[in-house]
Subunit: 316 residues, 2 copies
């Protein structure tokens, strides 16, 4: 069986109490939404690469996927997002209050799952998991604060996404390595890999939101422009266009026209290519970090190389 | 120094990251709201009674207080409560989105704190903590579901409050006993004590909401009646008044008049006295549970007896 199938099966068989159904049904719904299962996959492969077993790391892998989905459930309340992965979001389907409470239960279930790793690594894994969670909240906080600012720098942007997106991918790799019995140097190296992967992922995500294909990407294009989201592209274009970007954003234009005008400005400043180049840079840093990791199973190095490749060039 | 002062000092010195201030400031605000600090006090005394030290149990005691305050922050969003402990609630003061995110961070901080107990009890304490948290959410879920029902039984009510209120007090005692090195029998006995204490506490809380003194109780009287909250009193009065209670609730009356009429009905059916008697029953069960606990320090038994006494007769 493919590893991704094994992970999918384990996610489907996470045991949740039956009652009260109203509390646990939205959790099942959230987990069934699919997604790339990137975090559990990274944890499992990092563990195997370092000489550990799929079985030992699986509780932590599931914890990471549960945590990731918990953040999506609560984010969808805060952002009032009606859709997620082509279906109604949890708050849209079950109501905001239910999404708060079921989300809380997901966070506790994630902590509970993480405690299922072998006894000798429970303490460091649980500590890493909680530290990571706080970093993710800090990133979310900064992202929210950026919404009311117009002077965010690219440094601040990278700091924010290293917390909001990078921390979880980094921790998936670190926890996998820890369970696999890796030395500190390899834990750090794989953590750096995950972080750089996260930065490349987010830059590509921003790029896709503006230049992607709506049908392939699975959501409407241009949302970030309409929401004036402080992405690397927006920040760079603002900095370089001498007021032109803000002028477009401030104009009372139809959404389509606004997206069109901003994209034209981006094209003139070659923002898309440069965003791609920035993603490629972090892809390269991910590969470089990988070189510092000592693998028990060298055959798995290819998985990490390919995953980084895919992140920096993905279309969905 | 008084034990309650020691606990207060430890709460005040919980280390939170400085930045981003927007994330952590509401947490400090929530913790500074005061309250009885009943949960950490129970944990510390249970630990001492079983032969453990204040120092060993303090991380778990703080985790329980952090968790309790987390539930209040998220409850106040779900219930749209503007006030808490005589001040604006966290969502009223910082906004609902901020309350969601800072609340999430409180739950993670609580898990993090709980991991600070001595190594040999980390695993059982963390497991107990997560199990407890799920029971609390389950109780909250049932409480919410009761709002849209008119046929809740007193059995269902007791099941709900044993989860929503009882589970946390039970766990405070259990965790304290576990850290103190108690045998299973004493852990169970103190857990039962905490559960019965919780039931007495909740019955008294419901009683105070209807028959208490607004100035002493710190919030307006009659809120449960106006919100038609499924308390033991309301359920019993509905069952025994042959439609009279529901008729009053359905009438288009001013709040004051509605409260007045329901209280008159309660008085006729002697609901207040009987609610008090039910609280006294659970107080007696708490004391009986205490008799099954083996204490290393018998002098501390008095604390638990007095606390149960206070719960069943408190005015605030």
């Amino acid at each position: 069986m493919e590893l991704s199938e094994i992970i999918e099966q384990h996610i489907a068989s996470i045991r949740l109490p039956e009652k009260p159904a109203g509390l646990y049904q939205p959790i099942r719904y959230a987990l069934e939404g699919g997604g790339k299962r990137l975090r559990p996959l990274l944890a499992v492969q990092a563990c195997r690469a370092c000489g550990g077993s799929v079985y030992d790391v699986m509780p932590a892998a599931l914890a990471l996927e549960m945590f990731h989905n918990f953040t999506l459930v609560h984010d969808d309340i805060m952002d009032r997002s009606a859709m997620r992965r082509g279906r109604p979001s949890v708050p849209a389907r079950f109501g905001a209050n239910q999404a708060i409470l079921s989300g809380d239960a997901m966070l506790t279930l994630a902590s509970q799952l993480a405690l299922g790793v072998p006894q000798k690594v429970v303490a460091p894994v649980a500590a890493e998991f909680n530290d990571m969670a706080l970093r993710v909240y800090e990133g979310q906080q900064l992202d929210t604060e950026f919404e009311s600012r117009r002077n965010v720098t690219t440094d601040e942007y990278f700091h924010m996404i290293s917390l909001k997106t990078g921390a979880l991918l980094a921790s998936a790799c670190r926890i996998g390595a820890m369970v696999g019995g890796a030395d500190d140097r390899t834990v750090e190296a794989l953590g750096d890999y995950g972080l750089q992967l996260g930065l490349a992922f987010q830059l590509r995500d921003d790029w896709l939101d503006t230049f992607g294909d709506a049908a392939t990407f699975g959501k409407p294009i241009g949302g970030d422009i309409i929401n004036e989201k402080e992405t690397w592209m927006l920040i760079t274009a603002r900095h370089e266009s001498h007021g032109e970007l803000d002028a477009i954003l401030e104009e009372d234009l139809a959404d389509d026209e606004k997206i069109h005008q901003v994209r034209r400005l981006y094209e003139r400043l070659r923002i898309g290519e440069r965003c791609d180049a920035a993603a490629a840079e972090h892809h390269a840093l991910a590969i470089a970090a990988l070189d510092r990791a000592v693998f028990a199973d060298e055959a798995l190095r290819e998985f990490f190389v390919e995953t980084a490749e895919r992140m920096a060039s993905r279309k969905i």
